[in-house]
Amino acid sequence: MALTVQITKRLPEFELEVSLMAASEPVAILGPSGAGKSMLLGCIAGIVRPDRGRISLGERALFDTEQHIQVPARERRVGVLFQGDSLFPHRTVAENIAFGLHGLPAEERARRMATWVERTHLRGLEHRRPRELSGGEQQRTALARALATEPEALLLDEPLSALDTHLRGQVEAQLQETFAAFGRPALLVTHNIEEAYRLGHQLLVLSRGRVAAFGPKEQIFRRPPTRAAAQLTGCKNLSQARMVADGQIEAADWSCKLGIAPESQSAAGRTPAFVGIRAHHLEFAGVDFDEASAVSSGSAARNIFPSWPVRVSETPFRVTLFLRLHEAPADGAPHHLQAEVYKEKWRKFRDRPLPWRVRLAPEALFLMPE
């Protein structure tokens, strides 16, 4: 069974225009708040009406402007985990879970209830009201309530964002377990990069209503196809770029020419507009590479530059270095690149004389047409 979506909807700030396909593996939808993520889920669930397009689930058309099909939410068989609290406050955990089982024979209801109470680890809490539950228990109840109806697709809107950090891991494990057993289309909306990566197999990056990237997550993180996708997947180093020769580009914002790997050149097409490199991919002479051997291995793709730290910012285990290339920075000069290194590594070169030699490995660089 597959969920295919191709819709447009005019929103106050921009137009939501999304095409996606989800089959048996969960798709994480990543985007900043206000990118249209929740609106997209609302369209699929049947809560919001798109302006145009088509939504189908397996053989069934849920929405189709051309054929004038608009299946109401109650007949879509799409389970939804809403952002924030959506449990019925006047009903117990058991009554909440049973709400969607209306019309089934009593035995079947009891069986499903027991199954889902067990699977979501809610045993002993059946007679509590939502207000008597922790945030994690509430979210698991909402999940059980959605899944007990045996929906043909599952939509999750920021399922972890309202939870305290220590509860997040617990619910995330529950979601991973759920996805593994679900085997039907599931969409998970989040603005947290790591959550998207851990829970999704496919990744859809949404930026101001448009799909900035859609595909296997590893590919998107390795080689973001657009500048928006690079930024939203956490890439800190982006520069305008222009081809100057075969295998060589000029990065305007970093004031340098860079050799690039053949596969990134072909991925970007003929006219790349931007080049990027992830902060943890920058290499430092003496710890990551040996300059003498790098030079002898081929001069075309050396991409080694002198760099000076403008600013250093520490987190418990890592250090972010804001680097300026080519010349010692004057006061207030902006940085060119951000490098992220583990503290163990940083200790090895922080006392070396400036400038540090930094390398932008051609295989770590990626080009984007827009």
């Binding site: 669930a45 049947g46 809560i47 109401p72 939410a73 109650r74 007949e75 879509r76 068989r77 799409v78 389970g79 939804v80 809403f82 924030g84 609290d85 959506s86 019925f88 406050p89 006047h90 709400f99 969607g100 209306h102 019309g103 939502p130 207000r131 309530r145 959605a146 109806t149």
Partner: protein, 226 residues
């Protein structure tokens, strides 16, 4: 002393409140989610009995239910005369208290978190079930407060009742009407007695309303997210 005005008042108010509750809820549920200029007109008509002087409302009802009125003719064909009968007191009280019920029911329904209604729909519930099992229970405290207000308004109804039901002792003479005619007949003792009884009933009602809103508030607080 003739106690009939008390029983008539209570019977009229209780019956009128039941009618108002059903009609007000139905109107509020129907109005939910409807928009447009036509709805402003509908709201205006529903609220008219609240803003018009009760005598005007009574006069309209008299035109409607009188011998030559459209509804009066209909009832006459069924062999019933509404004007100057006990049902007239109920009609007058129900019409006058309807706007209060309608307003509070709408406010209470609008306060129900839309996400809960949407959740119910995605779980396969029909609109009828969404209303009965989610919207109504959650709006219930507010609706009950509206019911008490409507009952109080029915109990105090005078102008429209006098126009439509008149003053027939033992049949249409409610407490307010009994007071008016006692004063007119210079029977101060009876007037004072009925005033005292009316004040007692009203105070009891207000106390009920007060305690109700308090429990409602604490319920809401307990239901709310921590």
């Amino acid at each position: 002393m003739d106690w009939s005005p008390l029983w008539i008042s209570l019977a009229t108010s209780i019956t009128a409140t039941i009618i108002t509750l059903a009609a007000g809820l139905a109107a509020a549920a129907w109005r939910e989610g409807r928009k447009g200029p036509a709805m402003a007109l509908v709201d205006g008509i529903f609220l008219l009995p609240l803003v018009l002087p009760p005598t005007v409302v009574g006069f309209f009802l008299l035109l409607l239910f009188g011998r030559n009125g459209p509804l009066g003719k209909l009832f006459l064909r069924l062999g019933a005369t509404i004007v100057f009968s006990w049902p007239a007191t109920v009609i007058a009280a129900a019409v006058v208290s309807f706007p209060l019920m309608y307003l509070t029911a709408r406010a209470a329904l609008e306060q129900v978190e839309p996400r809960l209604l949407q959740a119910a729909r995605t779980l396969g519930a029909t609109e009828r079930r969404v209303f009965r099992e989610v919207a109504l229970p959650l709006a219930w405290p507010g609706i009950l407060a509206g019911t008490i207000l409507a009952f109080a308004r029915s109990l105090g109804e005078f102008g429209a009742t006098l126009m439509l039901a008149g003053n027939i002792p033992g049949r249409t003479a409610t407490i307010p009407i009994a007071i008016y005619f006692a004063v007119e007949a210079n029977d101060v003792r009876t007037a004072v007695a009925w005033c005292a009884i009316d004040a007692c009933v009203s105070l009891a009602l207000l106390a009920a309303l007060y305690y109700w809103t308090r429990t409602q508030r604490s319920l809401r607080a307990r239901w709310a997210r921590r």
